[in-house]
């Protein structure tokens, strides 16, 4: 379990994350939603050590994140950021092989190769594994990066807006894969989302943030309610049930 305890981050004097305490349940998809500038990405960056927190602590399986060794941490938690600019030209397979770095330090064993094969297969990238990343579409690139994270084989997978710039088809594809990671492989997925309908349809729990604070935290059914959403977004959002999905109709409110 990931436990965030009274975590704060200031930029200058302005708090971007303020006294956040939240528990992330294992083997579930937890979505972070909220308006722009609510501190969702900052929170995720602090949990994954990309950013130092000013006060408070993050515990992963009861261990303080700051006291863990970089390498041990990388075997437990992986993070994928929105933009992944790179200075080198890599093939998909080379990128995915980097996922094994915490284990093999660049010298891949036979087992590493096998896990890389599996990850490529899982993301349906086996046929195109020798293509270069800069020749791929946005969706394929994103899948390649997720394959790297799968090869990293961590219990916790954190994703910062993985659906950015993706079309509907690829977004659905990625969300389905994340669902499978939780249901089939027992991973814990934490994801920052902007489209609340993806959060509604695919996640088990939702944490809503606003102005650096957690305003709602609970199972998806409890958060996807007109009154709760009003509190988060200051918008009147009617909710329609279509099939088994609860869809927020926010376009004209």
């Amino acid at each position: 379990m990931i436990q965030v305890r009274a975590l704060s981050k200031l930029y200058g004097k302005k708090p971007v994350v303020e006294d956040v305490t939240v528990d992330i349940q294992p083997r579930k998809i937890t979505s972070f939603i909220g308006p722009n500038g609510a501190g969702k990405s900052t929170l995720l960056s602090m949990v994954s050590r990309l950013l130092d927190s000013d006060t408070g602590e993050v515990l992963i399986d009861k261990f303080d994140v700051k006291k863990m060794k970089s390498n041990e941490f990388a075997k437990k938690v992986s993070i994928l950021k929105q933009s992944n600019y790179m200075n080198v030209r890599l093939t998909i397979r080379e990128l995915v092989s980097f996922g094994r770095f915490p284990y093999s330090k660049g010298r891949l064993t036979e087992e590493d190769e096998r896990i890389v094969d599996q990850s490529l297969d899982y993301m349906h990238l086996t046929e195109m594994q020798d293509s270069f990343l800069d020749e791929l579409s946005g969706g394929q690139r994103q899948r390649a990066f997720i394959a790297m994270v799968i090869a990293q084989d961590t219990e916790y997978i954190l994703l910062d807006e993985p659906l950015n710039n993706l079309d509907m088809k690829h977004s659905v594809q990625i969300m389905k894969i994340l669902r499978r990671l939780v249901d089939e492989l027992g991973k814990t997925v934490v994801i920052v989302l902007h489209d609340i309908n993806f959060a509604s349809v695919y996640s088990d729990r939702i944490v809503a943030m606003k102005d650096g604070k957690v305003v709602k935290d609970g199972p998806t059914e409890e958060i996807i309610q007109s009154d709760a959403l009003k509190e988060i977004y200051d918008m009147d959002i009617p909710i329609q049930e279509i099939g088994s999905c609860r869809i927020c109709v926010y376009f004209s409110s």
Binding site: R49, L50, A74, N87, L90, F98, G106, V149
Partner: protein, 316 residues
Amino acid sequence: MRNSVKLLVLAFIAAGFCAIYLFHELNGSFGYALPKRTIKVLAMVLTGVTIAYATVVFQTITHNKILTPSIMGLDSLYLLLQTLIIFFLGSGHMIMVNKQVNFLISVVVMIVFALLLYKFLFKNGNQPIYFLLLVGIIVGTFFSSISTFFQVLIDPNEFQIVQDRMFASFNNINSDLVWLAIIIVSLVMIYAWRFLKYLDVLSLGRATAINLGVPYDSIVKKMLVIVAVFISISTALVGPITFFGLIVANLSYQFFKTYKHTTLITGAIFMSIIALVGGQWVVERIFTFSTTLSVIINFIGGVYFIYLLLKERKAA
């Protein structure tokens, strides 16, 4: 051709050039010319190693393939130091005449300057690396301006000696210094060996590198210190020649097309040995010293730099 084969070919060519330089027209002068030439070859190999290593590492850290470590202002500091010594103490002073003392003072001043710069910049948390580069450019320009100011005031005869220092030269290299530099560089290389594997991951960017368990900030700081040490040593030994690294690093990227730094760095090292030893041979035996190696290097390097800029512009 596989990369290991390419490396072997390069190593062979590099060794060949060293052999030609050492033994061509030696006329049996084993006692006099050979030891002198050996020292020169060692100095060129050492310069090649330090410049190639420092440039590739620096470009990986800054995620930029058209930067050289000279942007941190170490070469300008070296020239300023030499100018000030000659201006205030005169070219006959012990610090100018005694090469060992001059070398040690130059190296210490440059490394201390680099460490102070890093310390100042990394004091409040982790400033982005581009801030370091900007400060480096400004400080470097400042140093050059002061140097020019003093060079204008200086006695014309003394200025000749300053001018000598402005261009890298492999003639008249002190053999004790070469051995000292080789020892320091080898020790640093052994220390840095275990960080080499992290460099591959560093080129994936900060977030990905941290995600993969690389202690990013501490590795970057250590590598920057190593770059400063290497640049200081090669500059104090032969003079400012950092521009040269840009050529060999980029040739190495183009030639090997890999992300593996062990290959990239080794390749760049062999290429710089080929260029330096081969170039020096051409300068000495064909041009018979009518030009200097650094002029040729700056000319070819400048042309290649413009080509790189045009190519990058097309890709963007």
